[in-house]
Symmetry: C2
C-alpha cells in the first residue's frame, strides 16, 4: 500500500444503503481535517448507485484536491457482495481490500482482509448499526489513513449524545480485530 | 438561467453547519435520479470549509458526470452571510442566487431571490430544522432543477417516520414563497 500522506490518498467505502457508510466517510474526512489535511467526500447517485449499492469516496491530501472523484483507490471497504463485485476493480494493485467477512464471500484478491464487522457490532455493541464504526476502527488501524486520535475526536463529536461510550467501544472492537488479522 | 436538462446543471447549497444542507443535497440528488438522471454530490472539508461554512455541491446530468466538483454554478443557495460572501463569485452570470432573507443581508447581485426560509420554518412548521426543506421547495419551484413529484418522493422516503406531514408542509411553504417572489 502507498503510505497515506504521500500526496493524494483515496478511500472508497461501499456496501448497501442503510449501513451508515456516508456517515463513516464524513467521519474519516473530518478526522483528516483534524490531522491538518484537506478532504473531499463524494457520492454518486443514478445507474452507478442502483441495485442496492451505496458508495462514498473520500480523498485526503496535504494539498488542494482538484479532482474529487476517486480514480485509483488505495483502500476499498466493501460491506456487501454486490458492492465488492462492482468496485474491486477500482482498487490499485498495491491497494488494500477490506471486507465484511460474513457479507462478502467471493473476493478476487487473496490478500483481502476479512473481518466480520456486522457480527462484531451485534455481539460487542448490541446493534448492527455500529458496524460502520467498527469498520472505521479497523480501516484506520490497518491503513493509518488518519490518526487514531483524530478519528476518535471526529466520532465523539458527531455521534448522538449518550452513545459516546458504545461508539468508542465500536472503534476499539474494530481496531482489535484488525490487530489480530495483522498478526494472524 | 440555463435550463436544467441541457447537459450538466450545478447546484451549490451553502450555509453553516447544522442547517441540514448535506441532507438537502442528498434529497436533490435522489430526486434527480427519480427523474431518470445522474447526480453526484460532493462536500469539501478543510480550509475551504472552515469558519462555520458548510457547502455541498450537487451536479445533475442526463449523461455521465466525469468531473463531480461544481465549476460553474447554476444555482447557489446561501443560508448564511459568510457562505454567501465566500461562494457568490462561483455563480454563473446567468445563475440564480437564492438567500435566506433574514440571515444574509449583504448580497452583490441585485437579482438575488430573498426568502426568509428559517423564519418561515419556525412560523409555519414549528421548528427551524425544517428550513432546509422549505429552501428546497423554493429552489425547485424557482429553477425546475428536479421535478416536483420526484422531490416530494425523495423527501417522503428519507425523513423520519411521523414527520412526513410537516415535511410536506415545509416543501409547500417554500414553493408558495417562491411563487410570491416570482410574481412580485
Amino acid at each position: 500500500m502507498r503510505e497515506p500522506g504521500a500526496g493524494r490518498f483515496e478511500i472508497r467505502l461501499s456496501g448497501s444503503g442503510g449501513q451508515g457508510l456516508m456517515l463513516a466517510g464524513k467521519l474519516l474526512a473530518e478526522a483528516a481535517v483534524h490531522d491538518g489535511k484537506n478532504a473531499v467526500q463524494t457520492q454518486s447517485y443514478g445507474p452507478e448507485a442502483r441495485g442496492g449499492k451505496s458508495k462514498t469516496d473520500v480523498v485526503i491530501s496535504d494539498g488542494e484536491i482538484d479532482y474529487p472523484k476517486a480514480t485509483s483507490v488505495d483502500v476499498l471497504l466493501s460491506m456487501s457482495q454486490p458492492a465488492c463485485d462492482e468496485y474491486q476493480d477500482s482498487l490499485r494493485d498495491d491497494g488494500v481490500l477490506i471486507v465484511d467477512e460474513r457479507l462478502v464471500s467471493d473476493v478476487a484478491r487473496d490478500d483481502a482482509v476479512r473481518i466480520p464487522f456486522t457480527a462484531l457490532a451485534i455481539e460487542e455493541c448490541g446493534r448492527q448499526l455500529f458496524a460502520n464504526v467498527v469498520a472505521l476502527g479497523a480501516l484506520v488501524e490497518l491503513t493509518g489513513a488518519v490518526s487514531w486520535e483524530s478519528l476518535r475526536s471526529a466520532v465523539l463529536a458527531r455521534v448522538p449524545r449518550g452513545t459516546e461510550d458504545v461508539n468508542e467501544k465500536a472503534l476499539a472492537v474494530g481496531r482489535e480485530a484488525a490487530r489480530k488479522v495483522s498478526r494472524g
